[in-house]
């Protein structure tokens, strides 16, 4: 059985590209007015709850300050991001990925659940039992909270969409609150991104499976895993 459905793999890479563009253009846009406020209005740095650092060129798209071009990329990448999020939610609900891998039980949220997760993880990436409680909670937060929050706060900032759904701006606490939440959620996603990349690099085969789909361990005895025992002889001899 294929481990990652085609819909999951397709969305994963399209979304990865979209998120990289959205994040780095977002940092360029942030440089235009580096202050965040709560409420409906905000323009005076004295009222800001956060004075944001100026993001350097290497962290932004484009690599110099260009609000127009950054916005062009941002609102373009918003399409695959927004439509993709709707697509993956429908696909996850339809193909059972959500029920199988993302739903949690109260036990998953206990310290014992976290301990079990750590134990399962230290066994390497080849474990059969799907996602452990920590993974379920983390991915669930990303799909259920961070990504939708990113989309809805993004829509709420747009004055044209404000006329579509004034209530959306209101439930987010006003346009400047929506803008602050957009910034916070972006860094939440960045934090996930870092953890995600580090853990994937530890077992790089997982990255390949994201392209190929990989295989779940079959019920019949699987082929012995290719292990690379490190012979003691490889220890570098001491010099002098």
């Amino acid at each position: 059985m294929i481990k990652h459905a085609l819909s999951t793999r397709l969305w994963h890479w399209v979304n990865a590209a979209a998120i990289i563009v959205l994040f780095m253009t977002g940092l360029n846009i942030s440089n235009a007015h580096r202050y965040l406020y709560w409420g409906d209005y905000g323009f005076d740095p004295a009222d800001a709850w956060l004075a944001v650092v100026r993001f350097p060129g290497w962290a932004t798209i484009p690599q110099h300050y260009n609000l127009a071009l950054a916005r062009d990329w941002h609102i373009t990448a918003a399409w695959p991001f927004g439509v993709g999020l709707l697509f993956i939610w429908i696909a996850m609900l339809a193909n059972g990925h959500f029920r199988r891998d993302l739903t949690t039980t109260p036990r998953d949220w206990t310290p014992a659940g976290v301990l079990a997760s750590l134990k399962a993880h230290s066994g390497g990436g080849a474990h059969a039992g799907g996602y452990n409680p920590v993974q379920r909670i983390l991915y669930g937060m990303v799909f259920g909270v961070l990504l939708p929050l990113m989309l809805f706060t993004g829509l709420a900032i747009s004055p044209g969409f404000g006329a579509v759904a004034p209530w959306l701006v209101d439930i987010l606490g006003g346009r400047q609150s929506a803008r602050s939440l957009h910034f916070i959620a972006a860094w939440g996603i960045f934090g996930f991104f870092v953890i995600h990349i580090v853990l994937a690099l530890i077992d790089w085969r997982l990255i390949l499976e994201r392209f190929t789909g990989g295989r779940r361990p079959e019920p019949e005895p699987a082929a012995p895993p290719q292990t690379d025992p490190v012979p003691a002889a490889m220890e570098a001899p001491a010099h002098g």
């Binding site: 590209a17 209005y41 609000l67 609102i75 373009t76 918003a78 004055p159 044209g160 404000g162 346009r175």
Partner: protein, 249 residues
């Protein structure tokens, strides 16, 4: 089989690299992609909100304590300076272009038209917002009085301010021109417009960003196309910096 998408995906990710970006930004394909994305947002906004869908209006106590001035906050033109000092006695607002009956209205005549008062939020493209109460006649009333001709597709606003050596101007389509909240404001928070906010007359186009809200308006011009105005992109910032013509995003 599996190798093919892998390679093209990796190539796609690598294309996001810095040096490639400069070339990508200038390609015609990218420009048309940006335009399609912008048009898509506008189409969704218009379809979901309706042509007459209103921007939120606020209570007087929800206004920001002051209203920031941005972009041009002063006008160098001597005639403007002299008019500003005297309360704009000889200022005329022209309505011209593709109209049956061109108009030239004094400030008193603008104030004598049926008025709309609205407390709305002003969103700058930079990210900040301010809330103020605006008063003035609806643009639709002026366009009806001047009898706009059938061939008109856009309304252009000609302004008295000059930035980087160019006359400020802006343009909107007929949907926003006839939107009920599109007014020519002469007052902010119950007072005549201060110079920094566009005295004596400025546009309010409430479903779009700040750079669309032309200040120091001298003339309103109905046109079939804005291709031969300025650099042809429909507005000062659109020409100078490449901002989106649709400022609703």
């Amino acid at each position: 089989m599996v190798d093919l998408p892998r390679r093209s995906l990796l190539a796609g990710i690598a294309a996001l690299g810095a040096s490639a970006c400069a070339k990508i930004n200038e390609s015609e394909t990218t420009k048309s992609l940006f335009e399609a994305a912008e048009d898509g947002h506008r189409a969704v906004h218009r379809a979901l909100a309706g042509k007459q869908g209103l921007a939120k209006e606020f209570r007087p106590d929800q206004r920001s304590p002051t209203f920031r001035g941005n972009g041009s906050v002063t006008v160098a033109d001597p005639f403007y300076k002299q008019q500003l000092a005297g309360g704009f006695p000889d200022w005329r607002l022209e309505v011209k272009g593709l109209v049956e009956k061109p108009l030239a209205l004094s400030l008193a005549e603008v104030k004598a038209l049926p008025q709309r008062t609205q407390i709305t939020r002003h969103d700058c493209v930079e990210g900040w917002s301010a809330i103020g109460e605006w008063q003035g006649p609806q643009l639709a009333a002026l366009l009806d009085a001047a009898k706009v001709q059938k061939g008109a597709n856009f309304i252009v606003f000609r302004c008295a301010d000059v930035l980087y050596g160019r006359d400020y101007y802006e343009s909107i389509d007929m949907v926003d021109a006839y939107h009920p909240q599109t007014i020519i404001a002469h007052s902010l928070n119950g007072e005549p417009l201060p110079e920094k906010n566009g005295a004596p007359l400025r546009m309010r186009i409430e479903r779009q960003l700040g750079y669309k809200q032309a200040k120091y308006v001298k003339a309103i011009e109905a046109v079939a196309s804005f291709a031969d105005i300025g650099q042809g992109k429909g507005g000062f910032w659109e020409d100078v910096a490449g901002y989106q013509w649709y400022g609703g995003i």
